[in-house]
């Protein structure tokens, strides 16, 4: 039986992509409780809130307004991101009738969409093998996996648009002539740029730099400017219309872009900075691990020679498709050095886009090595498939273990994921107290603070006085004030469900003594699984 090659290639891509999704969903396959850092909390709760409330909103609800009220610099107290990304989560959550898995699986598909766009573009420009190998190697890209786990969700997805936007520009430019052209690519590029700005504005600017560099190089090479006012007019009209659909968030993009950047001392001379690829890891101590800045740890040293060979081939050959990759690389370099023009914000985050362009260039290098030698066509073909096996083997030996272990063990500590009792009380709070009411959780020490943030998120209730109350020195000075404003007004949660995790038993004593002294005789509303909820009532 002869198998259709097209079908076979689709199945191979399907296997690679499903395997990638199997890997990327490891953190929640066995434990369907939300997880992640502060950013992840905000993204999850935005989607979850819309789905649970069955309404969208312009003005932030109280529990979001407390944390994110000033984040929209154009129109405070409204969403600081364009709504589509989180509305996507809400749509899938509502469609699947579940709060956790749909949002996380949608995010995993979004975050791994870079595999789809890189495969699509590289397959179209360079053929199936470089495309599928790029998708396979990107599955284990730690520069993508780490920010995905930390919670920089929209940014991960937004990067997947860059190759597609450049591809549309490439198609429009290369098919353009006065007699015949395909403006549909320009219009799709406009739609993709608008969606790109909806997903993450920082990456949208990266896309613009990419178009500028790519366009400039193509114009210099071909001495052709595709100037059709009708096409450009429709392109601008589509973009402006979509940009105007969310005026508050688009206004925020403009205000933030032209607003003053936080001044920072210049740490390096411009020349030394230009010669460095990434920012200095020492500037990010405490927020980003040093390994994130290491080529060896993120890409694997074995890719370096192939990357350099690939680069050499692109520079020497300079076909349109080669210029495509080079322009993409140069645009990343420019974006990574924007600190030289005073734009420091989220500089390290742009580094997370490096694998997206390094990997395809590396695969071009791997599969082009044999073109240097004069050998029989049959041998060349055999050697090419040998190189494919080599890449797969090296990836499985050097890149797979770190990716697998990071994803498999991510957030599996009971200190950072809320337990079933905490889920239950959060649901109870959501269903039984008003949206404007505040909830304070008394007790948890810093090591389990992350769970308290998740309880706030899960319950959709304001919780601006979460804990450390009994242990943190900061509250000793204004203890009376805190009691006056919070204990007397809030719903108070005493959560002993994690007692077994705590090493400091004396804290538990203080905790329970505080409860007995201050809450005996007040209304106990909830009492289950070592968690109690009170409403303080003045006698």
């Amino acid at each position: 039986m002869k198998i259709n090659k097209k079908y076979l290639e689709v199945f191979i891509f399907l296997i690679v992509y499903l395997f990638a999704l199997y890997m990327w969903t490891l953190p929640f396959q066995d434990n369907k409780v939300p997880y992640g850092e502060w950013d992840a909390i905000s993204h999850w709760e935005l989607g979850d809130f819309i789905a649970q409330r069955d309404r969208t909103f312009v003005n932030l609800p109280p529990f979001l307004d407390y944390s994110y009220g000033p984040d929209n610099r154009f129109k405070p107290h409204t969403l600081w991101y364009h709504p589509p990304f989180h509305t996507d989560f809400a749509i899938i959550s509502a469609f699947s009738n579940d709060r956790m898995a749909p949002i996380y699986i949608t995010n995993a598909i979004f975050a791994s969409a870079i595999l789809i766009s890189v495969f699509f573009v590289i397959n179209r420009l360079f053929g199936f093998l470089p495309g599928i190998l790029s998708a396979f190697v990107l599955t284990f890209s730690m520069r993508d996996i780490l920010p995905y786990l930390w919670g920089q969700w929209p940014e991960r997805f937004a990067y997947a648009f860059i190759p597609l936007i450049l591809y549309c520009f490439y198609m429009y430019y290369t098919t353009y002539s006065k007699e015949k052209s395909k403006p549909i690519y320009l219009y799709i590029m406009s739609l993709l740029l608008a969606v790109n700005v909806f997903i993450h504005p920082m990456v949208f600017f990266h896309s613009l730099v990419g178009i500028f560099v790519f366009g400039l190089v193509l114009i210099i090479k071909h001495k052709k400017i595709p100037l059709n006012f009708r096409h450009i007019g429709i392109f601008l009209l589509i973009f402006i219309l979509l940009f105007a659909v969310f005026p508050y968030q688009s206004g925020n993009v403009i205000v933030s872009f032209f607003g003053s950047s936080t001044p920072e001392d210049k740490k390096y001379s411009p020349l030394s900075r230009l010669l460095q690829w990434s920012p200095n890891p020492k500037d990010f101590v405490g927020s980003v691990p040093e390994s994130y800045f290491s080529f060896k740890d993120m890409h694997g040293l074995w890719t370096l020679p192939f990357l350099l060979i690939g680069l050499l081939i692109l520079v020497v050959r300079r076909e349109n498709r080669d210029i495509f990759l080079l322009a993409w690389l140069i645009s990343l370099y420019l974006v990574l050095h924007r600190d030289l023009i005073g734009k420091f914000m989220f500089l390290h985050r742009s580094l997370s886009a490096s694998a997206h362009i390094f990997v395809p260039i590396t695969m071009v290098g791997v599969l082009s090595i044999f073109s240097f030698f004069k050998i029989l066509k049959v041998s060349k073909s055999l050697l090419k498939y040998g190189a494919v096996i080599l890449v797969v083997a090296l990836t499985l030996v050097y890149n797979f273990p770190a990716a697998q272990s990071t994803l498999d063990k991510a957030y599996d500590s009971p200190f950072i994921r809320i337990n079933s009792a905490q889920v239950e009380v959060s649901e109870w709070l959501k269903d039984n107290i008003d949206e404007d009411d505040n909830v304070s959780v008394i007790g948890p020490p810093p090591e389990i603070m992350q769970k308290v943030w998740w309880m706030a998120s899960y319950s959709h209730r304001t919780s601006h006085y979460f804990e450390g109350f009994l242990t943190w020195g900061t509250f000793e000075e204004n203890r009376d004030e805190v009691i006056r404003y919070h204990i007397l007004n809030d719903y108070i949660v005493f959560d002993y469900s994690d007692i077994a995790l705590l090493s400091d038993r004396s804290l538990v004593e203080r905790w329970s003594t505080f409860e007995e002294q201050n809450f005996a005789g007040h209304t106990l509303l909830y009492n289950k699984d070592n968690i109690r909820v009170y409403k303080y009532e003045l006698s």
């Binding site: 589509p84 996507d88 789809i116 597609l164 659909v245």
Partner: protein
């Protein structure tokens, strides 16, 4: 590589079935429904719209996903201000499907 034509319903059906079964096994029913929702709500309406243009099969599939995730929720978001969010999802879906079919009819008539 050019993807097989979407008209090959059997092949497309097998692909979607494999995807859904895979997600059912790793993430259960809601995982499977999530993926079905992404395909049905974000991709299908925009595939029908893009199908009216001179694009290759794989271009239509990929662009429909990346455009769908931005435009579908944009419509749903504003409708969700006025009516139930769940109904807004349904209305958005119907509107976009109708747009796809109307475009096809108009395009065919003019060609």
């Amino acid at each position: 590589m050019n993807f097989p034509k979407i008209e090959n319903i059997g092949f497309i059906g097998i692909i979607i079935a494999v995807i859904l079964v895979f997600f059912f096994f790793i993430l259960g029913f809601s995982g499977m429904m999530s993926v079905l929702g992404i395909i049905l709500l974000f991709m299908v309406p925009f595939y029908l719209i893009l199908d009216n243009f001179d694009l290759s099969q794989d271009e239509k599939i990929v662009f429909s996903f990346f455009i769908g995730v931005g435009i579908f929720p944009a419509i749903t978001y504003w409708l969700g201000m006025l009516i139930s969010f769940r109904i807004a999802i349904l209305i958005t879906f119907v509107i976009l499907i109708v747009v796809g079919f109307v475009m096809r009819k108009v395009w065919k008539k003019n060609s």
